[in-house]
Symmetry: C2
Subunit: 329 residues, 2 copies
C-alpha cells in the first residue's frame, strides 16, 4: 500500500490547489435544522469546478506529477465525477487526458467530460474491466494513471474540503459535533476525517453510503476491508464502489467515527428536498448525507452538524423523477 497522507499533506494540498479550485461555501439551513432538532450546515461541493469535490483530489494529484512526465498525459477510469475532475485539471494545465467511462454513465457526466476536451473510451460496466483498459493506455503512452481514491495525493486533495468546513464553522462561532460525507471508495470522507483530526479533533466524521454498497460501513464495523454485496444498482451512480480503497480504509480505522447507510428511497427524497427546499441540484450520491439526516439514520438532535453535498451532476430527468416520487420530501 502507498504511505498514508498526513494532515500536513492536506495543508500543502490546500496551498497547491488554491489558484485553481473554488472555495466553496458552508451555509446554514434553518429548515433542515428545525426538522433535525439541531443546527445543520451544508458544505456545497457541487459548486466546485466540474460540479463535484473530485476536482480537488485530481488537481492536487496531477500537480504532483513531475513536469517532465506531464506531457505524456493522464488517464483515469471513472463513472463521471472523477473523470470530469481529471479532465478539467488536465485542460487547465495543458495536459492530454484519456478517460475510461462506463457507457451507461449519466449523460451530464459524459458530455461534461467531453466538453473539457478529454478523449473518452467507453466500456461495458458488466463485461469489461476498466482497470485493464486504463492499464493498457498507461503502457502504450507512458501516461500517468490518476486513481479515483486509492492514492495519498488524491485523499489529501479531497481533505482540503475538511479544512474549509472547520474554518467556516468557526466563522459561525460553532463547534461542529459531526460531519457527514457521502462515500464511495472513501477518499472524500477519510480526507475530511484526517483534516479534522488535526484542526477540529472534537468533530466526529461519518461516511454515508447506499445500502448494498456500504463497504466502508461494513469494513469499519468489522475492522477488515470487505466488499458489500449489492443485489442491484443504486440510484447513486457515483457511490457504487463496493469496497473502500486501501488508503481510505487505513485512514478510516484511525479517524472515522462510524459508517452509515441509506436506502435509495431516502436518496430520492433527499434529491427532491435539495431541489424544493434548499434550491440546489444534488445528484443522488451527492445528497447521501442529507438523506441520512432527513431519514433519521443519523440523529442530529441537539447537535451542530455539517453535511457535505459532494456533487450535482445529475441529468434534469433524474432530478425531476426524484421530485415526482417525493413531492413533499
Amino acid at each position: 500500500m502507498d504511505s498514508l497522507p498526513t494532515p500536513d499533506d492536506i495543508l500543502a494540498a490546500a496551498k497547491r490547489i488554491a489558484p485553481y479550485a473554488v472555495r466553496t461555501p458552508l451555509i446554514e439551513h434553518p429548515e433542515l435544522g428545525a426538522r433535525a432538532g439541531g443546527r445543520v450546515f451544508l458544505k456545497l461541493e457541487m459548486f466546485q469546478r466540474t460540479g463535484s469535490f473530485k476536482f480537488r483530489g485530481a488537481c492536487n494529484r496531477i500537480l504532483l506529477i513531475p513536469e517532465a512526465d506531464r506531457a505524456r498525459g493522464v488517464v483515469a477510469f471513472s463513472s463521471g465525477n472523477h473523470a470530469q475532475g481529471v479532465a478539467a485539471v488536465a485542460k487547465l494545465l495543458g495536459i492530454p487526458a484519456t478517460i475510461v467511462m462506463p457507457a451507461d454513465a449519466p449523460r451530464a457526466k459524459i458530455e461534461g467530460t467531453r466538453a473539457l476536451g478529454a478523449t473518452i473510451v467507453n466500456y461495458d460496466r458488466v463485461t469489461e474491466d476498466r482497470e485493464a483498459i486504463a492499464g493498457e493506455i498507461v503502457a502504450r503512452h507512458g501516461a500517468t494513471l490518476v486513481r479515483p481514491f486509492d492514492d495519498p495525493g488524491i485523499v489529501a486533495g479531497q481533505g482540503t474540503a475538511g479544512l474549509e468546513i472547520a474554518r467556516d464553522a468557526a466563522g459561525f462561532g460553532v463547534a461542529l459535533d459531526a460531519v457527514l460525507a457521502p462515500c464511495s471508495g472513501g477518499g472524500l470522507v477519510t480526507g475530511i476525517a484526517l483534516a479534522l483530526s488535526k484542526v477540529s479533533p472534537g468533530t466526529k466524521v461519518h461516511s454515508v453510503e447506499p445500502i448494498g454498497y456500504d463497504g466502508m460501513r461494513q469494513s469499519h464495523d468489522t475492522g477488515e476491508r470487505i466488499a458489500a454485496h449489492a443485489e442491484r444498482l443504486s440510484i447513486a451512480d457515483a457511490l457504487m464502489a463496493p469496497m473502500p480503497g486501501k488508503v481510505p480504509f487505513a485512514l478510516a480505522k484511525l479517524h472515522l467515527a462510524g459508517g452509515l447507510a441509506v436506502t435509495d428511497e431516502a436518496l430520492v427524497r433527499a434529491v427532491s428536498f435539495a431541489f424544493r427546499r434548499i434550491k440546489i441540484v444534488a445528484e443522488p450520491g451527492g445528497a447521501a448525507a442529507i438523506a441520512a439526516v432527513l431519514s433519521g439514520v443519523f440523529d442530529a438532535k441537539g447537535k451542530n452538524v455539517a453535511l457535505v453535498v459532494s456533487g450535482g451532476n445529475a441529468d434534469p430527468e433524474t432530478v425531476m423523477a426524484c421530485c415526482n416520487e417525493a413531492p413533499t420530501p
Copy 2:
C-alpha cells in the same frame, strides 16, 4: 410619497434582521466568468429563508411595526415570494398573516406560503384588484399592510443584500465594477444601489427586467415613472410589475446606473444554465441577471461583476421545461 430610506437605514436593517435572516454566500463562478471574459460572482439569494430575498424586506418592515399593533396581524398581496417572506416572518414572530395571491401563482409558491401557516385569499389576476382585497382586510381587522416594494422599510431590508455583496467582494480582494439584480417593483435593485452608494461607490448597479415589463428601464431612461406595455405574460412570474414603485424610482434616479431588459428566451436559457452548470435552482425571474450576462445584453468583458440570483421558487416542471428548451445553454 413616503420619505426615502438612507444608507444608515440599511445598516440598521442589517442589525435588525440578523437574528432571523440567512447570511447568503457570494461565490465566484469561473465558467460564467470565462464565457463573459471577466470575473463573475453570484449572490445566492435563493438560499435566503423562503427561497428568495423577499424575507429581508419583510423581516425589517414587520419588526418596525409597533409591538402593540402586531397582534392584529399583517396582510400582503403577492404573486408568491413576498407572500412567503411575510408569512415566514409572521410565523417566526407569532403574528397572524393573510396573503392575497393570484390563483395562477406557481404551486411551489402557494404551497410554500400555506405551509408557513398564512391564511391565503386567492384572486383572479385579470378581473380582480388585489390592492382592494388587501385594503378590505386591513379595514376589517386593523392589520398592517406590508407592501411588496413601495415602502422605505422594505427597500432598506432588501438593501442588506448589497452590504453583504460589498463585504464578500472585499473578501475576494475584488473591487466590483458592476452589480446586476432582477427588478419587478424595484425594491431589491434600488436597495442594493443605495447600500453600495455608501459602501462601494465605484460599483455601478443595473436593474434587469423581462422585455415588456421593463418599466424601471423605461422610467430610468426617460426620467419619468412610467409603465411598460406588456403584450403577454412573461415566464418570470415574479417580475411582472409593469412600473417601478415610487420609492424605488426616486432611489433609481439617484443611484441606478442603468436598466437592462432580457427576452423570455434568455431567461429560459439562464434557468437551464443555472441548473446544468451552476447547480442551483433559479426561478425564471431569479435568473434575470444571469440571463443579461449570458445573452450579452450586459457586456462583462474585463469586469468584476456580481449577479444577484434573487429567488429559486420554481416548480420542478418549469425548470425541466427550461432545461429541455435550452439543452446546451
